[in-house]
Symmetry: C2
Subunit: 355 residues, 2 copies
Amino acid sequence: MKAVSQAITIRDVARKAGVSAATVSRVLNGNTGVREPARIAVERAVKALNFEPNLNARRLSLGRTFTLAGIVPFFYRPSYVERLRGLESVLSPSPFDLVVYNVESVHSRDRFFDELVRPDRFDGVVVISLRPEDAHVRAFARSGVPVVLVDAAHPKLPSIHEDSVLGGYIATRHLIELGHRRIAIICDELNAPLSIIGSHANQSRLEGYRKALTEAGIPIDPSLFREGPHAKHLARSLARDLLLAPDPPTAIFAVSDTHAMGVLEAARDLGLSVPRDLSVIGYDDIEVAEYLNLTTINQSLFESGKRGAEMLLAMLEADKAGEGQTAPAPDAPLTEEIEIRLVVRGTTSAPPHGR
Amino acid sequence: MKAVSQAITIRDVARKAGVSAATVSRVLNGNTGVREPARIAVERAVKALNFEPNLNARRLSLGRTFTLAGIVPFFYRPSYVERLRGLESVLSPSPFDLVVYNVESVHSRDRFFDELVRPDRFDGVVVISLRPEDAHVRAFARSGVPVVLVDAAHPKLPSIHEDSVLGGYIATRHLIELGHRRIAIICDELNAPLSIIGSHANQSRLEGYRKALTEAGIPIDPSLFREGPHAKHLARSLARDLLLAPDPPTAIFAVSDTHAMGVLEAARDLGLSVPRDLSVIGYDDIEVAEYLNLTTINQSLFESGKRGAEMLLAMLEADKAGEGQTAPAPDAPLTEEIEIRLVVRGTTSAPPHGR
DNA sequence: CTGAAAGCGCTTACAG
DNA sequence: CTGAAAGCGCTTACAG
């Protein structure tokens, strides 16, 4: 038998404390002027009744939801889990709940942008690895809900992101410095719908790769470029192709650690020893990278989520302070660059002799 | 300049449609009797104004939150991510949002159980891999908020979980059938706080291991049992110890794939070839298991989350139907067992000759 | 079928 | 300092 006890309200507390509901509310909200005896009576009653104010009533009354949204593609992939972990680390001690929305298509992205960025839904939202279009951004502004971008950028929105061109450059540069000249690159599909709405990190890393080669006077060989969906087994077959070609690369830059895992498999399949016969560098530095002893680029995944959440909380704080007085948004919203760094492990070395 | 447009309300719609707010509400809620012309006028106005009812007002008025909580330890670990993915798959097309709470200590578990399981907070909660105590369960019942357990059990609560004893048995049995007799086991710390409040899967798997050995007439050698925190590098050193002992095991049962990864590393460190010199079986079948070609036990992680969410939605549905009339809770709440199965891959084989 | 009114449980100007 | 009252934006018995 479910004997659901009727929830107690602020009026019950008021009665017990011998004051009005308004006074109870005031002490609950740490309000300034409440005389000592009243305050004490209220605190006693609250404790005695184990009272907790009804959250939905507060939400309606205050016009705040105490909830934040995170909009993120493929939330279950290790790199996104790591970013979410960063979010969680700052939100968990805050009064805000986080609800995560998983986008797997352009359609769901649009739906989320439309339906979620409303003041009665969320106090703020963080968008990860997705680039809102101008129309979205205008709607965000109209809604008054602060939005911050993690691993993406827009001129009108605060954001925290890496310099992906630099990342691609550093990775490629590392291989060049080791003595490689035939360096292949394996990317996510450039024209997949989610690549297009995504952070464009792929394209930028490719650009960095080209830049490094050009700078070193190494001609860009289109046959050393492959693209395929974000999946190990596909990267594996792309790498296999590459390695079976007449003039195979001595090094492969994989645009994510997941891709790199596929490359490692392909090498194993073909009996190639890494790094002796083939150097491999990944990107992201997800947890398994260390286990696999994979050389990679660390892009501060956790930190990016952490900073994103911090920026959002700061904006919320500022809004609360500047209540009503329509703070003119700065022309150039806060944009931060996150640190990236090369992590040299065991899958890269000088190329085989005579290559 | 933030030009926040004032949100439109049901009254605006009513005015535009030339009806009362009550009527608007009725059509919005798909209510039975609203005459055609009124309905159409309202639908027009709703569309024209792009009206979306204020969620917080609905919450307060209806006494429902349209939000569910997930309470889970170490949410970022691959096995929990997989369970959460199962939850997400059923919740995402539902009208419910999910907020995930990460527990890393007994204290946070208690706090979440106390603060979250309240009708003004959540319409339902799913608890993963955590065993609430009787006092908690009584409080849950008083709150009237339905709670379902995933990967844990309690006589008074609906749940979905594996038979961990059987899992441990099957894993061990596999090694025995291959011909092994010196079979070690590496567990999570049995006395760590979170093991104690956890699902006790560890202890049960250990029990299954003992059962299989006993049944096969193999004496249980305490020196073949090791326990340590859930971390690869620790499992690695435990395994190293084991393998360096005078009479080392020919096979190791690791109680999670993560532990198994540590074992694999230890074998590599010592120049042992797996499975030729050492067989290794893990548990969970997380994504990397396939990549590592690890033999393991698949415990339907995704499915468990999926079923947990489905059970909760069904309870919510039932509650809505039986409104008010205090449905007598069944004496024995719904308990389902999830499928587990042995996945034989490349890390197990017959023991070396002469062992 | 439909509207006016009360109610959900808070918060906060407004008086005093 | 403190209380009575209005208001947040819905929903839903209650009349008609």
